[in-house]
C-alpha cells in the first residue's frame, strides 16, 4: 500500500488529466497485484452470498440473437478463496432446468456438475480448460467466475480517466503463456469501487481482439454492483450483453444447498421454476 500511495502522489503531481505514466509504474508489480486483488474481491466476492437473476443476450455478426435467462446463487467459503455457484437456466425454453454446480477452488481445477433434465442425468465435468465459452456467450468461465490472480503477472501501468470513472490501468500477462489464447490483458479498474470498467484482450500477435465494458454500476444494499456489461469479440463480430435484472446480497444461502443431488430438485425457496 505504501507503493500505491506513493504512486498516487506522484501521479497527481505530474498529471491531472490522468495520462499514462508507464515509466513511473513500470516496476510496480506489487501495486498491480494489489489493484487486481481489490478488483477480484469487489467483483467476484462482494458480501458473503448473493442471489441474482441474470439475462444474457448474444448477438452474432448477422444480428441474429440468442437469449438466456438464469438464476445464480453464490456462496463464499472464504473471502477471495473457495466459492460455490449454482446456476439454473430458465430460458430458452428447451433448456429450462439445465443447471450447473461449481465449486471454485483457486489454484486447482474447479469441481463442476451438470444436470440435463431431458435425460434426467447428473454428470460430473472434469475440465482443465476455463477458457471455454460460458453457455455459448462471449464470456468465458473465467470471466464469469474470476481468473486466479497467481496465473498472471500484474503490472500497474498508470491511471486513466475513463468517462466518469477514474481508474488504475493494469496489464496482466499470463505466467504460463502456453495455456491461454491471449498474450496479455489490460484492465481499467475504478479507484473507488474497485470494479473493472474495461478489459482489453490482446491476442498472441499483440492485436486487440476482445473488449469488455461495464455499462452500468448500481449500488445495491450498499454494494456497488455491475448490472450491465458487454463483451465484444472483434474477430467474430459476436457480442454478449449481460444484465443483472435483480440481485440481493446476504440472503442466507447455506452450504448444503450446493450439493449435486439437489441439482435434480432445485431449492424452490431460491429458484422459482
Amino acid at each position: 500500500m505504501k507503493y500505491l500511495g506513493f504512486g498516487l502522489v506522484f501521479a497527481s503531481l505530474l498529471s491531472v488529466s490522468g495520462m499514462e505514466l508507464g515509466s513511473a509504474y513500470a516496476a510496480d508489480t506489487v501495486g498491480g497485484s494489489t489493484v487486481m486483488k481489490e478488483m477480484l474481491l469487489a467483483y467476484y466476492y462482494p458480501q458473503k452470498d448473493a442471489k441474482s437473476e441474470v439475462f444474457m443476450r448474444i448477438v452474432n455478426r448477422q444480428g441474429q440473437r440468442r437469449e438466456r435467462r438464469l438464476t445464480r446463487l453464490r456462496l463464499d467459503k472464504t473471502d477471495g478463496g473457495e466459492q460455490f455457484y449454482y446456476i439454473y437456466f430458465h430460458e430458452p425454453a428447451d433448456v429450462q432446468g439445465m443447471s450447473f454446480l461449481v465449486l471454485k477452488r483457486p489454484g486447482r481445477d474447479d469441481d463442476r456438475w451438470l444436470y440435463i433434465p431431458s435425460i434426467d442425468l447428473v454428470k460430473r465435468i472434469a475440465t482443465s480448460d476455463k477458457r471455454t465459452s460460458f453457455a455459448g456467450s462471449d464470456f468465458t468461465y473465467e470471466d464469469v467466475s474470476g481468473r486466479d490472480l497467481d496465473e498472471d503477472e500484474h503490472e500497474l501501468l498508470g491511471e486513466e480517466v475513463l468517462g466518469e470513472y477514474s481508474t488504475f490501468l493494469v496489464k496482466s500477462t499470463p505466467k504460463r503463456s502456453a495455456d491461454v489464447e491471449f498474450s496479455y490483458r489490460k484492465l481499467w479498474i475504478d479507484k473507488t469501487t474497485h470494479l473493472p470498467i474495461k478489459v482489453e484482450h490482446y491476442d498472441l500477435k499483440g492485436a486487440l481482439y476482445k473488449v469488455y465494458e461495464t455499462q452500468e454500476i448500481k449500488t445495491i444494499q450498499g454494494v456497488p454492483t455491475i448490472t450491465k456489461a458487454v463483451m465484444k469479440d472483434l474477430g467474430s463480430g459476436h457480442e454478449t450483453e449481460i444484465t443483472i435484472k435483480a440481485i440481493s446480497y446476504d440472503v442466507g444461502l447455506a452450504p448444503d444447498l450446493f450439493q449435486e443431488r439437489l441439482l435434480r430438485r432445485p431449492p424452490s425457496q431460491w429458484i422459482r421454476r
Binding site: 448474444i58 428447451d94 433448456v95 475440465t127 489464447e181 500477435k205
Partner: protein
C-alpha cells in the same frame, strides 16, 4: 490514294515515325509502376454473381473462413510419439503468431477440445494438452483421439500416421507468403516427420506467384530464341530489332493501357506478353517479301512500297482476324477473360499499326551497305529453300487426291477425338506431378479426408427446425450417402456433434451413437456444445436460430467433376428422401465455386470461340469477296483446331482453362497462314493465270514466309515446354503444334484443295479486283 500518300509520308520521315512511337511508348511504360496483381480465381465471377454472393453469405452465416491452409504432418511410424506431438504443440503456437494468420481460429489438436467420458465423468480438455511422456499415456491419447469421430480423418488419420492443422488466413494476405513463412518454421532435422502444405490459398497464390515468375523468365527467353531464329533467316540486326521492337511496343502499349485503366493483372492477362510476342512475328512476312524484292534488284524505297502493296492486305486481314478472335472473348460474362481478350485484341491492332508505320520506317533507315548483304543472305538461304519448296509445291498440285484423302481420314479421327473431350478443371493439376504443391495435395488426400471443401446448406422454413430429430436423421442419411463416393473423404454436420454428445453423456456407450429421439434432448445437447466446443465450431454447422444447417464436405480431388457428382448424388438421395420441415439443400464452398466458374469460363470461352469462328469466316468471305474462297481460307483453321482438340480428347487430357484459352489464340493465328496463302495466290494468278504455276510459286515464295513465321512462332512457344507449370507446358506445346499444323495445312492442303475445286474457284475467272487494305 490517300492511304498510299500517308504511306509515302512515312517513308519520307522515318525518324518522325520513330520519335512519335517512342514518345507513346514512354507514356505507356510510365503506367507500369501502378501495376496491381490479382490471382484469386474467385474473382473470375463478378461480385454481383449470385454464386459468389451466396458463397459469401454462407461463409458469413456460418462463420467460415474462405481461405484455409492445411498443414499435414506424416510419420509412417505413427504420429503418437513424444517428439511429433511436442512439435505439433510448438508449431501451432508459432503459426498462431504469424502475421496474416487468424490466430484464434487455428484448429490443431492443441487448440480444439476433445469431449470424452472417463469413469462416469464428462471430460472436456484440449485434444492435446500436456504432451504425454510414457508409452502407456501415449496409447491412451491415441485411443481417445481416434475414438472421436469428429477428429478422425480431419485432425488425425485413421491409421494414426498423419495429423493436420487448419490455418485460416486473412482474406487480404497472400497464401504463398504465409506458406513460405510456415515452411521456415518447420524443423530442419525432421526425424521421421514429413510436412506438407496444401489448401486453396497455397495452390492459388503459389500458382499466381509462379506464373509471374515464369512469365518474367520465359518472355525474354522466347524473345531471344526468336532473335536467334531471325538472325539465321535474315542475317540482319535491323530486322531483328524491328521485329522485337514491334513485339515490345505492343506489349508495353497494351499492358500499360490495361494498368492505366486501373485493371489488375489477372492470371489470364499475365500471359499477354508471350502471346503478343508470337503475334508480332507476323512482320516476318514483310521482311520475307522485302528481301525477295531487294534480291530482284529493286532499290530500297521501291522494294518497301511494293512489299507493302502485296503483303499489306494479308497482314491487315490476318491481324484483324486475330484481333477479332480475341475480342470475341469480350462477348462472355467472365470479366478477367473479357479483359484478356481486349488486351490482346488491342495489342494485335498495335502490331498492325506498327507493321504499317514503324516497320517500313525502320526498313527505310537500314544503311544501304547492309541492304545488299541482307538480300544476298536471304537469297543464299533460298537457293535450297525455294527449290525444296517448289518440289513441295509440285507434289501438292499433282498428288491432290491422296493428300485430300489423308486430310479427310485425319479429320474423321479428329472428330472422333472431339467426342471424347472431357471438360474439367483442376487447379492443382496446373502444377507438375512432382511439384511441392501437387505432392502435398496428393499425400494429404491419401491420408486424410481431403483438401478441397464444399458445403451443403440445409435451409428449413422455420426457426428451430434443425433441432428436430427427423431432420437431423435425414441429414445424417445424406452424409452417409455422400460418403459412398470414394472422393468424399469426410463429412461433418451438426448431427455428428449431437451424436457425439449423446454417446459421451451415456458413458461412451456405442448404442447412443445416434441422434436422440426428442427435440428437447437435441436442444439441451446443443446448449451443452455451445459451452464445451469452441462456439465457432458449432456456428460452422448450424446458425443461431437453428433454421439453417451446414454439412461440411472434404473432397479428395480438386476436379470440378467431383463436385458435380456430389450434387447429382445428393439430388438423387433427396428425391427418394425429401427432407422434412420443407428444407431445401443448396451447395456452396470453394469446390462448388470452382465448379461453377470453371463451367462458366469454359463454356463462356466455347461460346466466344464459336462466335469468333463465325466472325472470322465472315471476315474471310468479305476479304476474298467470295463465299467459296472464304470457306477455303477457313478450312485450314477448322482442320487445325479439330485435329488439336481431337488429339486432346483422344489422349484423355482435360479440356481445362489453359487449353480453352488456346482455342481463341488458335482461332486468330491459325487462319493467318491461309489468308497469306490465298491472298498471295490470287495476286499471282491474276498476273500469270496458270493455276499450277501460280500455286507452286505461292508455296515457294509466300510459303517460305509462312514456314518462317510458323517456325519462329513455334520456337517461341516451345520454350514454355520447359516451364515448371503444367498449364504453361500445355500452352507451349499445343501452341507450337497449332502453328506447325496450320502452316502445313495452309501450304500443303490448300494447293490440293484449290486444284480439285479449280472450276468452282477460278473457272469463271471471277477473281475480284485488287484491293487496298482499309
Amino acid at each position: 490514294m490517300k492511304l498510299n500518300r500517308l504511306f509515302q509520308l512515312i517513308l519520307d520521315y522515318p525518324k518522325v515515325v520513330l520519335g512519335v512511337t517512342l514518345a507513346l511508348t514512354v507514356f505507356f511504360l510510365a503506367q507500369f509502376p501502378k501495376i496491381a496483381i490479382d490471382t484469386d480465381p474467385k474473382h473470375m465471377l463478378p461480385e454481383t454473381s449470385p454464386v459468389r454472393q451466396y458463397n459469401d453469405q454462407v461463409e458469413r452465416d456460418f462463420a467460415l473462413h474462405p481461405d484455409v491452409i492445411v498443414l499435414g504432418i506424416v510419420n509412417p511410424e505413427g504420429i503418437f510419439n513424444v517428439r511429433t506431438l511436442t512439435r505439433v504443440k510448438e508449431l501451432t503456437r508459432a503459426i498462431q503468431e504469424l502475421p496474416g494468420v487468424i490466430s484464434r481460429d487455428v484448429d490443431s489438436l492443441t487448440t480444439v477440445d476433445n469431449i470424452t467420458s472417463t469413469e462416469g465423468e464428462l471430460v472436456v480438455k484440449p485434444a492435446l494438452g500436456t504432451v504425454p511422456q510414457s508409452v502407456a499415456e501415449l496409447s491412451v491419447l491415441r485411443k481417445s483421439l481416434l475414438g472421436n469421430p469428429l477428429f478422425v480423418n480431419r485432425f488425425v488419420s485413421r491409421d494414426a500416421t498423419t495429423l493436420a492443422l487448419f490455418i485460416p488466413i486473412e482474406p487480404s494476405v497472400n497464401g504463398k507468403e504465409i506458406a513460405d513463412k510456415i515452411r521456415s518454421l518447420l524443423p530442419k532435422n525432421s526425424g521421421g516427420d514429413k510436412f506438407y502444405l496444401a489448401g486453396d490459398p497455397v495452390a492459388r497464390d503459389t500458382f499466381g506467384t509462379e506464373m509471374f515468375r515464369q512469365m518474367a523468365l520465359f518472355s525474354p527467353i522466347a524473345g531471344m530464341i526468336m532473335c536467334v531464329a531471325l538472325w539465321f533467316m535474315f542475317r540482319n540486326a535491323t530486322v531483328i530489332i524491328a521485329n522485337m521492337t514491334v513485339a515490345m511496343i505492343s506489349i508495353i502499349w497494351s499492358m500499360g493501357g490495361l494498368i492505366a485503366l486501373g485493371y489488375p493483372v489477372h492470371i489470364m492477362s499475365s500471359m499477354s506478353p508471350v502471346f503478343l510476342m508470337a503475334i508480332a512475328t507476323d512482320a516476318v512476312h514483310i521482311f520475307n517479301e522485302f528481301a525477295f524484292r531487294l534480291r530482284e534488284g529493286k532499290d530500297k524505297r521501291t522494294a518497301i512500297s511494293e512489299t507493302m502493296k502485296v503483303v499489306g492486305p494479308p497482314v491487315f486481314y490476318s491481324d484483324v482476324t486475330t484481333a477479332v478472335g480475341f475480342a470475341a472473348l469480350a462477348t462472355g460474362a467472365i470479366v478477367p477473360l473479357k479483359i484478356f481478350g481486349l488486351v490482346i485484341g488491342f495489342g494485335t491492332l498495335v502490331v498492325l499499326v506498327m507493321s504499317y508505320t514503324l516497320v517500313p520506317a525502320v526498313l527505310m533507315l537500314i544503311p544501304e551497305t547492309h541492304i545488299l548483304k541482307m538480300a544476298q543472305t536471304h537469297g543464299k538461304g533460298s537457293n535450297e529453300g525455294p527449290s525444296w519448296l517448289s518440289h513441295l509445291g509440285k507434289f501438292c498440285v499433282t498428288r491432290t487426291k491422296p493428300i485430300l484423302l489423308a486430310g479427310f481420314v485425319l479429320f474423321v479421327v479428329a472428330v472422333a477425338g472431339l467426342g471424347q473431350i472431357r471438360v474439367n478443371n483442376n487447379m492443382v493439376h496446373w502444377f507438375k506431378r512432382g511439384s511441392v504443391v501437387r505432392t502435398a495435395d496428393r499425400v494429404m488426400n491419401e491420408h486424410l479426408g481431403g483438401t478441397s471443401t464444399a458445403y451443403l446448406v440445409i435451409q428449413a422454413k422455420d426457426e428451430g427446425a434443425i433441432g428436430k430429430p427427423a431432420l437431423l436423421r435425414e441429414i445424417e442419411g445424406l452424409q452417409r450417402e455422400l460418403e459412398k463416393d470414394p472422393l468424399v473423404g469426410k463429412t461433418v454436420s451438426v448431427a455428428d456433434y449431437i451424436k457425439r454428445v449423446n454417446q459421451v453423456l451415456h458413458d461412451d456407450n456405442p448404442a447412443f451413437d445416434r441422434v436422440p429421439d426428442s427435440e428437447r434432448e437435441v436442444g439441451q445437447y446443443l446448449f451443452l456444445l455451445q459451452s464445451a466446443a469452441k462456439p465457432r465450431h458449432l456456428d460452422n454447422v448450424v446458425d443461431f436460430s437453428a433454421k439453417t444447417a451446414n454439412i461440411i464436405l472434404q473432397l479428395k480431388s480438386w476436379d470440378a467433376g467431383v463436385m458435380k457428382k456430389v450434387i447429382a448424388r445428393a439430388n438423387a438421395f433427396l428425391k427418394e428422401h425429401p427432407l422434412p420441415e420443407g428444407a431445401q439443400v443448396k451447395p456452396a464452398g470453394i469446390a462448388y465455386f470452382n465448379m461453377v466458374w470453371n463451367h462458366e469460363v469454359l463454356w463462356g470461352m466455347l461460346t466466344s470461340f464459336l462466335w469468333g469462328l463465325v466472325l472470322v469466316l465472315a471476315l474471310l468471305v468479305f476479304e476474298t469477296r467470295s463465299f467459296l474462297w472464304g470457306c477455303v481460307s477457313f478450312l485450314p483453321l477448322l482442320f487445325t483446331i479439330a485435329l488439336i482438340y481431337g488429339v486432346v480428347g483422344l489422349i484423355g487430357k482435360d479440356f481445362d482453362m489453359p487449353v480453352a484459352v488456346l482455342s481463341t489464340l488458335a482461332l486468330g493465328m491459325a487462319v493467318d497462314f491461309a489468308i497469306h496463302f490465298v491472298s498471295r495466290f490470287q495476286q499471282r494468278y491474276r498476273e500469270y493465270p496458270d493455276l499450277k504455276e501460280a500455286l507452286i510459286w505461292t508455296v515457294a515464295r509466300p510459303g517460305k514466309g509462312i514456314f518462317l513465321n510458323a517456325i519462329l512462332f513455334a520456337l517461341g512457344f516451345a520454350v514454355m515446354g520447359f516451364s515448371a507449370l503444367t498449364a504453361y507446358i500445355t500452352v507451349g506445346i499445343l501452341m507450337a503444334a497449332i502453328m506447325i499444323l496450320s502452316s502445313v495445312m495452309s501450304v500443303i492442303y490448300l494447293p490440293s484443295l484449290i486444284v480439285v475445286f479449280r472450276r468452282r474457284l477460278c473457272g469463271a475467272e471471277h477473281l475480284s479486283q485488287e484491293r487496298e487494305p482499309r
